[in-house]
Symmetry: D2
């Protein structure tokens, strides 16, 4: 990923794992979303505020994810999100989850997630407001 | 439990388990809620309808749960809910989770859950509407 | 999907939803897995048994999912899984989630999931045992 | 709580919420466990290590929780855990979840959680090893 991608960290707890002894496959999508949310926060975008003041939410339209190696209990993870494309009503992210090992890291999963700006009442697409677009671009 | 308690069944999937090889402790509360929801459905109470048409929801006020034996992957569970007390704005349930073994069953967890009728906008308690009270009593 | 695909049903509970008022995007992967698990059970494959007796598990290698319409609280869902391809150590499924409306249904999400047969100890791929392959093919 | 209790912080994401617009009631138990885990880490106890090297895990025996006010999307939480009692094979924690508001905080939920030291193979209670007891007491 480029040097401009955003990342934050997370820890693996029992809640994230399953009886296979590793993180449950659906839960990587939770880690993906934490990274997108923190990316937004760093750009000055708070989802709860957007929902309350303008009735806009950003549900996910599609996900493609590859699992390379399993995350395990107590692992320290590095979660990253990078904007690949911004449309009139959508944002496409490239995302990665890495296990941190000292100063090194190992790729555990990566993928693409596309979110769409919709009205919370009818889930119809709406153009991303200009001020939000500006924040996205400044951060991307 | 009395012969009048309500029960439904559920299966344990990977999503419910953790790296200890058993169902994650928080997930028993999901099973508890499925039983309360199906109890309500059997009584003619649909939570989504109550929320949309009257702005009422029933968040949980307190839980006390004892774990007796672990539920495991592929277990078939019997979930039960029995109304113990109905207040002006609250309902107290006695609940059980049992593993089904042929015609027998083993107690895995039991507890008490109290829910409160509140306005979805401000989460302030509101009296349970009379028609709902009637449905609760007919089912209890 | 073909007439030979497998399906089972599920109900949407509060546990599945998020503050957007709809099912949380990661939770559709739980529904996908329930369908694969029930497909296996119908074919005579029990995952807990495979793990305990042969040390084999089937973690997910990749997922591609499209979200078409949101599932909501109390929705009755039809979950389907169809085997598209069987490799030496992998199985690729085509999956769908539909909302049941009387005798009709609406597509909410569909996608592809590839699982790999691995040793539970080291997560290295292992050939799917012949008797399991036979069960997969009889069911596919 | 006393000045000796342990606390860490967490953020509320969509994954934690439900269609009531607030954190799902079972998920407070995830926050409780994160606090206990981080308390253990601060005391030099790593659960994954205990499991792998000595075959010991600490499943929950009982929970009593009161919900005072709902946690919401984007809330910053303070999670605390304090050891109330240490038995031969059990530890009882007093726990709290607070919403952080600047330099102040509001109590959202509190409760008691008792965990038991068991053998991961048969889930039978085992005495907590002396070196672990010492770490617990130094931290409590």
């Amino acid at each position: 990923m480029s040097s401009t991608d955003f990342s934050c960290s997370a820890r693996v707890y029992y809640e994230d794992t399953d009886a296979g002894g590793v993180v449950y496959y659906a839960n990587y999508l939770k880690f993906f979303e934490r990274a997108r949310t923190e990316w937004g926060r760093a750009a000055g975008i708070r989802q709860s505020e957007l929902n309350e003041s303008r009735g806009l939410i950003f549900p996910v339209k599609s996900v493609a994810i590859e699992y390379h190696a399993p995350a395990k209990l107590d692992d320290e993870l590095k979660l990253s999100a990078m904007v690949e494309r911004v449309g009139r009503a959508s944002i496409q992210f490239k995302q990665e989850i890495r296990r941190v090992c000292g100063t090194d890291s190992v790729l555990l999963a990566d993928g693409r997630v596309t979110v769409v700006c919709v009205d919370v009442k009818d889930f119809r697409p709406r153009a991303i407001p200009d001020d939000i677009l500006e924040k996205i671009r400044s951060q991307a």
